[in-house]
Symmetry: C2
Subunit: 284 residues, 2 copies
């Protein structure tokens, strides 16, 4: 397994691989890898000749006061997990390599980034779409893999790739959970003991929402209220948002039909966690 830290070497390497007819699968990450990342890597390994994983904690997608400095990092552990997962190459540049003259050019997808996490974290998605554009141009993958825990991110990147004709196949894979239901996240490392159990309210409230839908409830407001009540009953939590939206364009829904997304962002102690469920309505 090769570790590359410069853009020029990565581009040369990708060009060579492509010229040799290799198909490149790409998993962009901020490192501190967990089973969620590994599931992306396994799928990418299966579907391509070459698996490239990027590890880059991207400063431009963190807002002021957010956890850029404290975001967990462990390159040695990450490299060992990547090696086990059959990764051919890690691309791990530093911030000066990625932004040598600051961050002037910006890629944005305004229609999909003004709600949910985009509303709570202004500028976050511009940081994501810009760095992912850069990474796509550097790694030149055929397919790229994203976890559906970050559902809005998956939708935003899919739309960007489509709008800008990037000719990359974007694949979203299901959220991987701990045995007790907590969605895997590098930020789970921040949770103290009582917070760790409080955090279960996220996945449990999603289960409750699915249950309501299966019983025929179709009013998004009723579901949002129930979920809000469940989360608020847990003392360690503070809700950022609870929203039922259209799963494609992320706009609010007045009634549940086809595919709706129930998306949550909740502070557990000081740690902001997100989770979501796609609510499929299959009526005859």
């Amino acid at each position: 397994m090769k570790i590359i830290t410069t853009i020029s070497e990565m581009q040369e390497h990708s060009d060579r691989l492509r010229n040799e007819g290799d198909r490149i699968g790409f998993v962009p990450t901020m490192g501190f890898l967990h089973e969620g990342h590994l599931s992306l890597m396994r799928q990418a390994r299966e579907e391509n000749h070459i698996l490239v994983v990027s590890i880059f904690v991207n400063p431009t997608q963190f807002g002021p006061g957010e956890d850029y400095d404290s975001y967990p990092r462990d390159l040695e552990m990450d490299a060992s997990l990547c090696r086990e997962a059959g990764c051919s190459l890690i691309f791990t540049p530093d911030a000066d390599e990625m932004y040598p003259q600051g961050n002037v050019t910006t890629v944005s997808v305004p229609d999909l980034t003004e709600t949910l996490c985009g509303a709570s974290r202004p500028g976050h998605f511009d940081g994501v779409t810009t760095v992912v554009s850069k990474l796509f141009n550097i790694v030149r993958p055929h397919k790229a893999y994203f976890g559906l825990k970050d559902f809005q991110q998956y939708r935003v990147i899919s739309r960007m790739v489509q709008d800008l004709n990037m000719n990359i196949h974007i694949i979203g894979l299901p959220t991987v959970r701990e045995e007790d239901g907590l969605a895997m996240s590098s930020r789970n490392a921040y949770l103290y003991n009582d917070e760790r159990s409080g955090a279960l309210t996220l996945s449990r409230s999603l289960d409750a929402a699915r249950e309501m839908v299966s019983k025929g409830i179709r009013d998004p407001r009723v579901i949002e209220e129930k979920v809000t009540g469940l989360i608020e009953s847990e003392p360690t939590t503070r809700i950022d948002y609870v929203s039922v939206v259209d799963a494609d364009n992320l706009t609010p829904l007045s009634t549940l039909e086809d595919r709706a997304l129930l998306a949550l962002a909740v502070f557990v102690g000081d740690t902001r966690l997100i989770d979501n469920a796609v609510l499929e309505i299959n009526e005859d």
Copy 2:
């Protein structure tokens, strides 16, 4: 010479060319080709195996009330000029092919687009950078050629390519002029007789500015005033802007040093024309 109108066919074709080791030179245009475009095409032909020319009048870079509808179009003449210039392939999609779901994702270079034409034509450069990003992803050139008559456009695209790591060599070539000095432009077709002669005030005022610099004048305001006076003395003209800026970052200069750009936008009758000169200061 092949004419391609769909994105998917163009992408397949480019992939094939690249896999065969061909180097692709690209000249993006809005058609109604003139000697300026042809000079780009000749250079591109010389430096690459394959010359691709795109012809697309891009709606998103025209503002409300601008000349999108009346912009001159003549695909048959363009195709014949391309053939003569050794072009391998014309890519000429329609607006529905390029924007099937509107124009959501936007690429912008705010630092360089708030002055000069960017100030006069809000949204213009976002339209340019977004469509050029799309075209680059569709055509996948090794080198792309732009005329320096649109100096700000050249700088904006160079910066975009650099910031987003597009791995494309951007080449700017000198403005081609009519014998009497008028910069070649598809919009010159709009000029009535007396306007055609009035339009000469643009290139003449650039000459006057160069003369002032050679005589040792270093105050940008003095040059701007002189140029403004010359242009205003011509009855068919109305100034949009006359600015001396740094040729790299396009910010205003308090004194002339190294490389300054004198940029003009002038309405001649109803036709908005631009022209510019790079003022090189070589002092010991």
